[in-house]
Symmetry: C2
Subunit: 418 residues, 2 copies
């Protein structure tokens, strides 16, 4: 089965908005082994939408439309699809009743403009919208099936799960593609790829996708076919990947974050953390406080951008700063130990570096970052690293924050006390 | 003139990548009054690309292709366009020479795969690529002109400015659409809209676009037509908007940032800043350190997530915390004054709030944030605000960081000393 997506909305042709509903649709299609062949974005003009619908139907068995189902004059997807199919729009009294009831439940009268949301293309099956007023529609026309979805992302998402996925499941005979996303930190993409060498020898290469970003590499494993062999295959593949990548793996989920994994480890151990930052300017503590309930493990942090504050706030000896320079493992360790003891935390994490564009020297060019972790022991101690990171200021900062969080994660996961 | 964009690349049909080159193209088209009618994304298959090119040419005078100009086997845009036009691909020895010279300049031999990047569709004008190996092409075919651009964003951007913009300028007789983006902070979208009431009465509504986000509203002014009346119109419109929005305006540029504006004001005054944060976890200092050269004005910051650290690190009296609660104007002022004096900075900025999802009470629900600014005077003093912000944890945190930066910006811009 080949599918096309037609996104309707003049705002999608402007310079401000990328279209993202199609990513969600692409995922569901991929889960069910349906090839997405084409994506089109068109403005709010009935004739143009109709022309695109007719054209896409000629070459695709599944056409997914998004947007243009609202109550305003420029919402013309219903009319355009009816025109493309040479069918009438029929007003559905039951749908209108449901719309009026929805408004009544919110203590409001339905604006008359919303009446047209109860118009169905003749022969269409209405699709309930649990989160908004615009019902969707499913229409069979010759060899093609059309789905009309609302453009509001969370309305579309719910409707896709409730309507499209079961439809695809029935159409593809219960077979789906399944996936597991393995997320790693601390290794560059090339090294992950190299470590996966033995896995590539045993498993089909096209079922393993490696996606790299600064300080994080995702490995996506996919399998199709009937449920039992599919799951057995994925379990074997996952086990091989775990063996290959070992402690670089911080999560086996698409939605996990490194800060979330670190927070979970700290929480599970009843441990607390304080962070001392220079070049990252607060990014590490900001990321940790994105985690709901972060107060359980994060006591606080210090952004000692100025060198004098590294001494005054963190107790870094001015002589050490003068001798080693602010960007050095010795200073990072002193910062980590300083913030740990001054916050009364179990762990202290520190970063100091040259994010650029200025400030680089021959010995310590832009991208040089020192990282350190002070740990409680027994006996208490510290470990540190000096790295050179590529890219511009923001990329260096993000990458450094990844490495710092990963330093702590690996230490906690290894259960080391020293 | 009506234009269509055809983005080539199988990765654009997956679930990970939104296509953003078209935003850049849409802007340039809009600048020159050319309507973008359709956007299509297609995979790396020669026959399908060729079919789309033929179809788009039939209805658009300008077709812009992006991607598929690389050296690998799946880069087939050149072949597909030649097929759609019924033309040959001709190898250009001069282009190949230039490619080899480019590699030689980097001290490398050109891989043989790159030879095909010197293939031109018969009749095409090659477009130089200053940032990569893939040359672009411009092809006139009947009533339609095609541009082939590389898919790498910064290569495309440079080529669009060097080739497409002058071509459009010549085609549209020197007339362009011009725009000014006025950026405001501290007002909700509805209030900006209301303040613009008198402007709407004097100027055409469709030349003023209001774009809202958390803690920031952009007002985009556009005008077309010949240069002189266009500029006079824009100047009059801008002056009316300035009068309506006054000190809410922090920049008149699309690319400016609020942290950049604050940094500029501090730098111009030779003033320094320290930041004390709780709910935002370092976001304000992180944003300020995004500005290159931030060390000129930012001394550092304290993330006092834990209440005890608010006292220990910032000198907030425990009795004040007990009496007023951590989320209060009094505590925010004490934090601002504490961080200012302990960092030896001119200004101290502080935030404390309930970002959620937990921690809300009836008196201080999720979204309650206290902000304070301590200033040097003479005489030194502090000002504060208590606000309730809508949305989830991340939205509350971002919005709070906007309001804090804006509090400082307005104080600095007013040139107040007390």
């Amino acid at each position: 089965m080949r599918a096309a997506i037609l996104a309707v909305g003049s705002e999608l042709l402007g310079e401000d908005r990328t279209e993202s509903n199609s990513l969600r649709l692409a995922k569901v299609l991929a889960d069910h082994g349906v090839e997405l062949a084409l994506k089109v974005a068109v403005g709010d003009r009935e004739a143009e939408i109709a022309a695109e619908v007719a054209r896409l139907m000629a070459r695709h068995e599944l056409v997914l439309l998004t947007g243009g189902l609202g109550p305003t004059a420029d919402d013309v997807t219903r009319e355009a699809v009816a025109r493309a199919l040479g069918r009438e729009l029929a007003h559905d009294a039951g749908l209108e009743e449901a719309l009026r009831a929805r408004y009544a439940g919110l203590g409001r009268r339905m604006p008359e403009a919303n009446r047209k949301q109860a118009d169905l293309v003749a022969g269409a099956v209405p699709l309930a919208n649990r989160h908004g007023t615009a019902p969707g529609q499913r229409i069979d026309a010759g060899d093609t099936t059309l789905f009309l979805f609302p453009g509001v992302p969370h309305e579309l998402e719910a409707m896709v799960e409730a309507e499209l996925r079961p439809w695809l499941l029935a159409r593809t005979g219960g077979e789906v593609r399944e996936r597991i996303t393995v997320r790693t930190a601390g290794l560059p993409e090339s090294e992950v790829d190299e470590l996966l060498g033995p896995v590539y020898e045993r498993f089909p290469r096209d079922q393993i996708t490696v996606l790299g970003a600064a300080g994080e590499v995702r490995v996506r494993l996919t399998a199709g076919g009937a449920a039992e062999p599919r799951r057995a295959f994925l379990a074997a593949l996952l086990s091989a990947v775990r063996e290959a990548l070992g402690e670089a793996i911080f999560a086996e989920s698409e939605s996990a974050t490194l800060e979330g994994a670190v927070g979970e480890l700290l929480r599970a151990r009843g441990a607390t953390l304080a962070v001392a930052e220079s070049c990252t300017g607060g990014l590490v503590s900001e990321r940790l406080t994105r985690v709901p309930g972060a107060s359980a493990f994060l006591l606080g942090g210090t952004v000692a951008y100025d060198n004098e504050l590294k001494s005054r706030w963190l107790g870094v000896p001015p002589a050490l700063l003068a001798a080693e320079g602010a960007v050095s493992e010795a200073v990072a360790r002193a910062m980590a130990e300083g913030v740990r003891s001054r916050a009364g935390a179990g762990y202290g994490l520190a970063l100091t570096g040259v994010a650029g564009p200025g400030g680089g020297t021959e010995a310590k060019p832009v991208g040089t970052v020192a990282l350190a972790l002070a740990f409680p022991g027994p006996p208490p101690g510290a470990l540190s690293r000096l790295v050179r990171l590529p890219g511009d200021r923001n990329r260096v900062r993000w990458h450094a924050s990844q490495l710092a969080l990963d330093l702590l994660r690996r230490h906690l996961e290894a259960g080391r006390t020293g």
